[in-house]
Every structure is written in structure tokens, then in C-alpha cells.
């Protein structure tokens, strides 16, 4: 009995694809951080690093459902974030609970529309969400144009709203980080411990095979977009809590950053392969880069964008190379 070239005989390729490699990158960045900054390992600095990256992390956890499901990316993330944040701050006078619910409901609704379009009508996910981005963004700007709705610190609901970002739990841990951790845990459980997670991976890995296993891939994809919309909305609400006013531009760059995190985290763009710990690792890599790069002389905001772009291309290239080395191909 012959076997095809196995991954075991190609350790390099196998290693590059494992979750471990992401955390090796995280460790290397921490070492680099210690070189450029003496107190890098202080609790304060590490917590700040996590805090910086929490909103991205929340969004990336949601996005990874779409990527795992074989539908690449939700480009409407920035619009969902802005729209949900504005809705939340608009409803805030009616109470914090109502504001949070309204913001998240907005995300679920937009995710549902994306899911119906891409899942059931089989529209191309990139083209549809690109159009949805423009649509939602335009409607939000139109409806919100010229207004500045502030969340007022001196109302009870406004105080709670503000503490979403600025608050701390147990005296030290930023609330944002706790929210991120909770989202990550729930996301991981959804992926590994529910039928939905199983269906999603199967659908992403092989759409037809999923259908011929009795799975309804259309519904599965729809739910992936709903979860992503929900996560984006949560990210948008937290970001609005940071600003304390509604802003149509809060979501800028989150789409690309989230895809970068997901890809660095080892989720195959073609779908089906990847895990939540990997995605968290990818988010940490981006967070650490954001902390370390500004400390290096000559690297400003602009250069960071360039570096992120280069990293994205490099990671996609390396993972393609690794897949081919191990006798697999994703195209």
C-alpha cells in the first residue's frame, strides 16, 4: 500500500503550518521588544499591548468564521463597526443595556444580510461585502451627517458605556481585554464544541462534500456572516466607548488588519484549516508589532502600514509554499 508524500516526511512544511509557529513569532517579537525597551515585560506594558489589540481581536475572531468557511473576508467590517457604534450611542440615553443590544442587533442584521446574499444567493463574498461596505457606509454618513452624538460621562448609562473601554476589572485588567478574552473563548467553543463549528470547517474545506454529508452549507455560511457581523458590532461599540461619540470612520483599516491577523494565525484563505488559538496568536503578533515598531527609529505610522502589507504577503506566500512542500495545494 503506497501513500502519497506525507506531511510527516516534510517536517519543514508541517511546522510552518502549525499553530506553534505563530507563537514562536510571538515569542521572537517579545524578545525583540525586550531589546528595544527595558521594561517590556512589565505587567503594565503587556496589559497595554493587549488592550491596544483587543478591538482588533474581537473583530478578527468573528472574521475567522468567514475565512474558515471558505469565504475569505468580510470587507464590510468597517461599515458595520461604525454603524453599530453610532446606533449604540444614539440609543444610549435609554440605558446602557438598550444601547448595547441595539448596537449588537445592528451588527447581527447587517451580518444576516451579508449571509443571505453570500450564503443563499451565492454572490461572490469579496464583491458583495465590498458593495455592502459602500452601501452601509454611505447610508450611515447620510443619516448621521453633520451630527455629533456624544456619550455623556455624567449620566449613569454614559459612565458604564465609557468603562467598556476605559474601565478595569479586578483593579488591573482592562475591561476591553476581558471582553476580548470572553469573545475568544466563546468563539473557540463555537468552533470546536458545536455542530455549527464542525459544519463550518467541513463547508470551508469542501463545499460539495459538505452538501453530500447532509450539511446545509448555505445556512452554515449565513451563520458565519451573522457571527462576524455580531463581533464587528461589538468591536464598533467598544471603539465608540473609547471615543465617547459616534464616528463614521472608526472602522478604518480594521478589515485588512483582521484578515492579516487571521492569516498570520494559520487560517487557510481557501477555508477549512485553522483554529482559534492560531487567530489569537495572529492578533498578538499584530499587537506586538504595533508596540515595538514605533520604538524603532525611523518607523512611523506610514511605515507600519507598509510593514503590515509586506508581512501579509510574506505569510500568504510562505503558507502556500509550505502547503506545496507537504504535498497539498489549496487552489
Amino acid at each position: 500500500m503506497t501513500t502519497a508524500p506525507s506531511s510527516a516526511t516534510r517536517p519543514m512544511g508541517r511546522w510552518l503550518l502549525s499553530v506553534g509557529s505563530v507563537y514562536v513569532a510571538v515569542a521572537l517579537l517579545v524578545v525583540l521588544g525586550c531589546i528595544v525597551r527595558a521594561d517590556f515585560l512589565s505587567a503594565e506594558n503587556l496589559l497595554q499591548t493587549l488592550k491596544d489589540v483587543s478591538i482588533l481581536g474581537i473583530v478578527a475572531v468573528g472574521l475567522c468564521f468567514i475565512t474558515l468557511g471558505g469565504h475569505y473576508v468580510d470587507l464590510s467590517i468597517p461599515a458595520i463597526m461604525a454603524c453599530s457604534g453610532i446606533v449604540a450611542v444614539y440609543v444610549l440615553p435609554s440605558g446602557f443595556g438598550a444601547a448595547l443590544a441595539a448596537g449588537l442587533a445592528m451588527g447581527v442584521a447587517l451580518g444576516l444580510v451579508n449571509g443571505l446574499m453570500v450564503g443563499y444567493l451565492r454572490l461572490n463574498p469579496i464583491l458583495w461585502t465590498l458593495a455592502a461596505m459602500s452601501l452601509v457606509d454611505g447610508i450611515t454618513r447620510w443619516a448621521y451627517g453633520g451630527k455629533w452624538i456624544y456619550a455623556l460621562h455624567d449620566t449613569p448609562s454614559g459612565a458604564v458605556f465609557g468603562s467598556l473601554y476605559a474601565g478595569e476589572m479586578l483593579g488591573v485588567v482592562p475591561t476591553t481585554v476581558v471582553i476580548f478574552a470572553a469573545v475568544a473563548v466563546v468563539g473557540d467553543a463555537l468552533l470546536r464544541r458545536t455542530g455549527f463549528g464542525r459544519r463550518l470547517k467541513l463547508t470551508g474545506a469542501a463545499y460539495e462534500a459538505a452538501r453530500l454529508s447532509g450539511v446545509d452549507p448555505r445556512r452554515t455560511i449565513m451563520w458565519a456572516f451573522v457571527f462576524s457581523g455580531l463581533a464587528s458590532a461589538l468591536g464598533g461599540v467598544v471603539k465608540t466607548s473609547f471615543n465617547m461619540y459616534g464616528d463614521v470612520d472608526i472602522g478604518l483599516t480594521y478589515d485588512f488588519q483582521a484578515v492579516t491577523a487571521v492569516v498570520i494565525g494559520g487560517v487557510t484563505l481557501a477555508g477549512g484549516r485553522g483554529s482559534m488559538p492560531g487567530v489569537i496568536g495572529g492578533v498578538l503578533v499584530i499587537g506586538l508589532l504595533g508596540r515595538i515598531l514605533p520604538l524603532i527609529p525611523g518607523i512611523g505610522q506610514d511605515q507600519q502600514f507598509i510593514i503590515r502589507g509586506v508581512i501579509f504577503i510574506a505569510v500568504v506566500g510562505i503558507s502556500m509554499y509550505a502547503l506545496r512542500r507537504s504535498g497539498r495545494s489549496d487552489v
Binding site: 503506497t2 470546536r192 467541513l202 447532509g214
Partner: protein, 534 residues
Amino acid sequence: MSGIGTALELRRVSKRYPGTLAVSEIDLEIRSGEVHAIVGENGAGKSTLMKIIAGCFDDYTGEVAVNGKPVTLRSPAAAKALGIEMIQQELSLAGPLSVAENVLAGRLPTRRGLLDKRATLEEARLCLSLVGLDDLDPSTPVEDIPQHQAQLVEIAKALGYVPCILVMDEPTSALSREEVARLFDIIRRLVQQGLAIVYISHHLSEVFEVADRITVLRDGKRVGTFEAREVTSREIVEAMIGGAASDLYAKRAAPPGDVRLDVRGLTRYGFFHDCSLTVRAGEIVGIGGLSGAGRSELARSLCGIDPADEGSVELDGRFVAPSSYSEAIRDGLAYLTEDRKAQGLALRLTVAENLLSALIPRLCPAGVYTGARDTAIVGRWVGSLHIQPPEPEREMATLSGGNQQKALLGKWLATDPQVLILDEPTRGVDIGAKAVIHRAIAEVADRGKCVILISSDLPELVGLSDRVIVMRRGRLIGELSGPECTEEAVLLAANGEGEAGLGAAGLSPRLDGPHPGPLRPGSGQALPEGEGEG
């Protein structure tokens, strides 16, 4: 300038795929001005041989001569330069482009660096007239012309290169009876002009109609070359299957019990019509037929993957819904697809994930996946089907074809199906995996389940099945059982040799009602209209 010069000569040509010798030391001589048919069962090496001739491989061994000169055919361009053109089974036309642009693809006439539209249309008209399409406007987009015309356009495109050898792989699969007759007229005309045509087909009746000589392949070897006028279809069939059925397949002892599966009048317009069959407890019912006869389509509709237009499916006296596949799975049906890579397995996932993939709803009560039973289920099927290497966490893509096929079977056996429908369960797998799969299928039947076996592997079909139903052009045309159920009888019946089958092979005719609905030629891969054979 018709003649009997040798256009193409192969001597001791072989081609090895990893693990198998697909073509083994074949000698073949194709003469100018003849239609030379190549026939053989699936896996006999026809396609590989044709690909060698078309220059698709750079690692064949042996000698090739074209028009008496020794040549090498290491690339498609080399083959084209020598005047060899191939018409693939799958059309290679670009739908949105015009007929003319397709016919002249790669050699569009230009004037001063710009496309010369008038010359393009004229040149295309010339090519089209060679295949009798004088009336077709060459500026029509290919996607707007019917399938049979597209087939002819494909041939016109090949003829545009003025080949000396034309290879045609199943050129009639999309054509109706009248269109086939017209194609054969064109073939005869081309042959009279000295062209050598290599003609591959499953349809023996067509082969006899058009071919001058017939070469039979079996297991990658040439069994013989016959003058078409001096041989009967029975002799060709015997050469194809190599005599009597092998006795690899021990008949199972347990007699089948009561009827459990009752399919009545199942119809999907344009694909299959009024198909009724029953399967008893513990019975393996084979469905034989040529590719395109509608066997897979019947199976898919039977378990609700594709919609059926009419008819019912009853399991143990209860109607099962042939509308939703997930419900059908819950009711105990399972369909093992013939396309394991694209439709059966998720190659990117692990062996374990694949084995569990049809069980997802059952393993997630209330949506929560505990994974408690995973290891036991996976271990059971990896063990009993000898999946190699026995590592559940290995990615499916890294397993050999045979082990992938075993895993696909395991995936469905894990659902403990009451009705197991197998579509080409051992296509392209090695002999060891085949034995394991056959044993597993027999075990399922022995436990009182129903098994429907669709296979083009005749020894397997005849050896494993308790009886074989023959399907032809979308209809179940007869049933063979007991000593009458031989490879020969199945093949003759599948080829529409109705009388021969009825008389000599003991084919019992089935009741064929009137057409329950209109056939829809042209809709999708519709079946050609009935030939009106007995």
C-alpha cells in the same frame, strides 16, 4: 488521396503512473484513411493511450512513428506540429467568444498587427464547411449554439490545423441519434480524404457503425485488433472482459429477506424515467449501464440530493422524503459519491474529521459537540477498514487513493445506514483496498441492510451483486440474476443489444410504461433521445 499508408505507429509503448502501469507495451498501427476504434472497459488504458498520442506525457516509453518517421511526442505542441489533433470528451471552447474566434484560436489572421475580421470569418466558414456547418454564422457566440453544433465546431477547429491524425474521445456523448448519424457521415467523408481517425467509445453499436478496425485494450495491454466486418460484438465483449467472470467474489450464503426498499416510478425529466426497483433485506442490487445512462442521477435523486419530478421511495413501508438529503440520511439512506475528491471527502481536513462528517447532527445533541464518542468511532473504522497509515489526525490529502476511498466508505458506514448506495466504490483503487471495500460491503448486506451498487467495473458488479438491473438511456431496461448474470450479458444489454440479451443472455424485460413526460434534450446533460430499440 485515400490510401493504406501507416499514419501512426506505436511500438512497445508504455506509461507508468505511480503504482500502476496504465499502458503496457502496446503496439498499434493506425492507417491513413481508416477509422480505428479503441475499446475497453474503464481503466483499460484507453484515455492514457490517447493522451500519449496527443503528447500529454513526457515520460512514456517505447517508439512512435508518424508517417513512417520516428518521432517523439513529449508535448502537446510537438504532437500538433506532427499533425495530430485530439478532440477531448470535454469541449474546450470558450463560451463568450464567437464561433470564428474559437475555430481559429491561436492563429487568428491579422493585418498590419490588427485583427482581420473579414479574413477571420472567411477562414472560419471554410473550416465549418468541412463539418457540414455551412449555415452556421461564425460570429455567433459559442454559448448560443446548441451542444451538438458545439461538438462539430470543436471538430472544425481541429480540422483547421489540417491534421493527418484525428483522435476523438467519446464524440457522441452529447449527441442525439440523428446528430450521431450526421457526424458519422462527416467522419466517412474525412476518412475518404485520407485522414486517419482514432475513435474511442463505450458504445459498441456506434463503433461497429463507423469503425474499419477495432483494437481492444484490457488492463493496459492490447488484446487484439480486429477488422470490424469480420467480428461480432460478442467477440469484442469477450475480448474486453477476458473471458468468464473471475471467481474472486464468493457468493454470499445468506438468502435475502423481505423487501425493505421500494422505489416506484422515480423520474427526473431529461435524466431518467419511470425507474422502479425493490431491494430486499440483505440484498446487493447492482445497477449496470454505460456512463451517461443515468445511474448516478437516479441514485442522487433516490436519496434527495437532486430533486425527482415524479415517483416515490419507501423504506420499510414508510415513505422517505426524496427532497432533502439530510432528512434522507436521518431516515437511514447513504450515498457514496463516485467523485471522492470533489464531493466525497474534505481533503484538507483530517481522517477523523472526515470519518465523523456525516455524523455531525447525531453527535451534537442540542447543538453542543462533546466529542466524547469521537475516538471510539474513528478508531473503529480506521481499524476495521485498515486505513493506512492508522493516524486519525493525518490530513486526508496525504493518504493514497485507496485509503481515501476506504475513509469515504467508513464515513458512511459510521452512520449505520439502512440503505447504502455505492457509486463506483472502487474506482481507481488498488487491489488491496478493493478487497477490503468488497468485504465491508458484503458485511453490510449480511447484517440485513439494503445495498445498491453502481459500478462500471463489470467483474465487481456481477461478482458482488445478487442481481443486476441494467440501465440504458435513462430507463431500467432489464434485470439479470442467477447464472444469466454474466459480465457479457450486462455489457450486451447496456449496449442496447436487446434481442441478443433477451434471447441468449436471459435478460428478462421489465415493464416500460409510456413516456411519463417529455424528454428534454438540450437541458443540461440531457440524454439523447431514445433510439427506439426493441
